[in-house]
Subunit: 403 residues, 2 copies
Amino acid sequence: MAGMDLRPLIQPGGKIVLFVWDGLGGITSGPNGETELQAARTPNADRLAREGVCGRLVPVYPGVTPGSGPGHLGLFGYDPIEYQIGRGALEAAGVGFDLQHGDVAARLNFCTLDAHGRISDRRAGRIPTEESKPVVEKLAREVREVDGVKVFWAPVKEYRALLVLRGEGLGDGVEDTDPQKTGVAPLAPKASDDSAASARTARIAAKVLQKAHACLAGQPKANGVLARGFAMRPHWPTVTERFGVKAAVVAGTPMYRGVAKLVGMEELPACNEVAKDVASVAAAWDKYDYFFLHYKHTDKAGEDGDFKAKVHYIEEADAAIPAIEKLGPDVLIVTADHSTPSAMKAHSWHPVPVLLWAKTVRHDRAERFDEISCITGGLGLMPSEHLMPLALAHAGRLAKFGA
Amino acid sequence: MAGMDLRPLIQPGGKIVLFVWDGLGGITSGPNGETELQAARTPNADRLAREGVCGRLVPVYPGVTPGSGPGHLGLFGYDPIEYQIGRGALEAAGVGFDLQHGDVAARLNFCTLDAHGRISDRRAGRIPTEESKPVVEKLAREVREVDGVKVFWAPVKEYRALLVLRGEGLGDGVEDTDPQKTGVAPLAPKASDDSAASARTARIAAKVLQKAHACLAGQPKANGVLARGFAMRPHWPTVTERFGVKAAVVAGTPMYRGVAKLVGMEELPACNEVAKDVASVAAAWDKYDYFFLHYKHTDKAGEDGDFKAKVHYIEEADAAIPAIEKLGPDVLIVTADHSTPSAMKAHSWHPVPVLLWAKTVRHDRAERFDEISCITGGLGLMPSEHLMPLALAHAGRLAKFGA
């Protein structure tokens, strides 16, 4: 089933809350052959499952494990295969850098260069954040502008950082400078397309990296940088343009805020404490039609391989449901961007459970909110991308198609 | 959900065995209202179903009954609507003729011509293979080359045979010579497109058929030939190119070997005795990532309308499972290319049951391997084409998509 342009059907309607329990899905790996969600006590989600309709979402494509960006884009109604974010732009989102249209962002690795300028370590001894942060701050002080283009540097984590160029006429057709091996010098940034903008950006990036190397000359480990994934902020239609909703994001982690802002959601205060984050939704309740509320800890516990912790955090998220219900949403959805089974200590391709509560649902036989019960759910097994039109429909926001 | 290019995600991983029980699916037609698979005792497949994840595959499109070619292409991850094989090329695959790129193949019917050269029987009295084979051999001896183009003739079955032209600059835009009625002469081969290659091929085919008619002049029944479905070997990307697996086929019947070879699988010894065919997989275990093991007898019994025989052969295939498990595959799949209900004595459009066993599955409530239990399976109802990415994922062969 290909995508559908819903714009001609948009009409005013009720309020929608999308409550994402990051990495929620698991595999049957618990002490009694259950998933984390089956092991958890989730009286509120179970009640919503009984009163609502359930199903399972395929985030990107069968068998494909999504990163956080594609996983969320699907939930927002954007086909993640069609809407791909360049690495640099995603990194900017990840650290909360407010990338403007026209900016060019790149991911940086600090590296170690020998006396001949050849790379001896592509990750600068994997220096910890405490060591790399002062180095980034030094770059930010000393390399601030080249040929009228503003230069921004931001720390990411350990040996990784972000570079952003801001100025007129930039392009992102620029090749990586990381040769992907040691014993050779970093590559010069080279234009990868024929545009004047990319050629200019490659020239400026070369000067920026030259200045950076001069600035880092005295550093013991991080005396060089390698740039990858040059990318601009994509020109995407917003959720308001595509779906007619004024939308807000409440997410304590910069990456999720960043992705939501790429599709036009406005940022509300958030801190990764679920009660406070729900209060942030409540405080702005009258101003928006659609709230994306993100809960991070479930994914973290999955990545850590900690079954018990994941169960605990699922229960914590469940306990936040009544406070959301109290706001009176017309549609309340609980689901995930992808699975993160603690047995795999990583994201996975397994479908994610979804429940949609609304007064207009047709019930099904799913009596509990978990991966296995949801197989019998009325929503079936569908691409994440189909969730947004269903949310709009249950909120009365889509008019009849055809007479 | 349109197709997805998985190549950027390919990484090394575990071994996959695809065990195809040809024509496995049935309809509820047994003495107790059961399918052949429900009636069969399949302790091994049932155990794999409990330990794995189940579902159902739609081979081509809902309601569409697949031939053997499309049915298998779907299982190999090729959308059978996009990847269509010309009739001549499929016939070449079916008789194990090793069609080269540049060859043009056509299906032949022997026919009976009257004294005026008009067709009196389009199938030459449906002569049996014993009668047609010597006629084909006579053609192969006497019509071997025309204008520098090599000519090959191969028997197929009864009144059917295969013609292959091999030479420089051939094309397959050539119309059938079968007028589809009696009382008229065979049509002359005519180019169906504007290419020089097709025009040349039509001219050569005309000469070849003229020589064939001269050669067959004395035959009592098969004194003429009609050519249909001129086609070249398609230029398709291989499973190695698309999915990163080195793949082998073990199939005792030429057709299935032929289709597998069109997508780049290498041929291993096979004889349609399942224990020996499994041994053939075992002997090459270290050399390949992906094994397609074909079991024919289930389809044959279905085509014969023999419910009991189909049950028997399902049980025979099931008994071969432990020997495959002993090899230690990371992913073991049991499924079919299409349904062949014995009650219908023919292929059908009904979805086929599938089980996927791997250590990384999420279980479901399917406790038995049969068409009805599989409705509750975690894989849901999906196009056959989605099976390959899921097999790759469960074998750890697909990296994360996006960050």
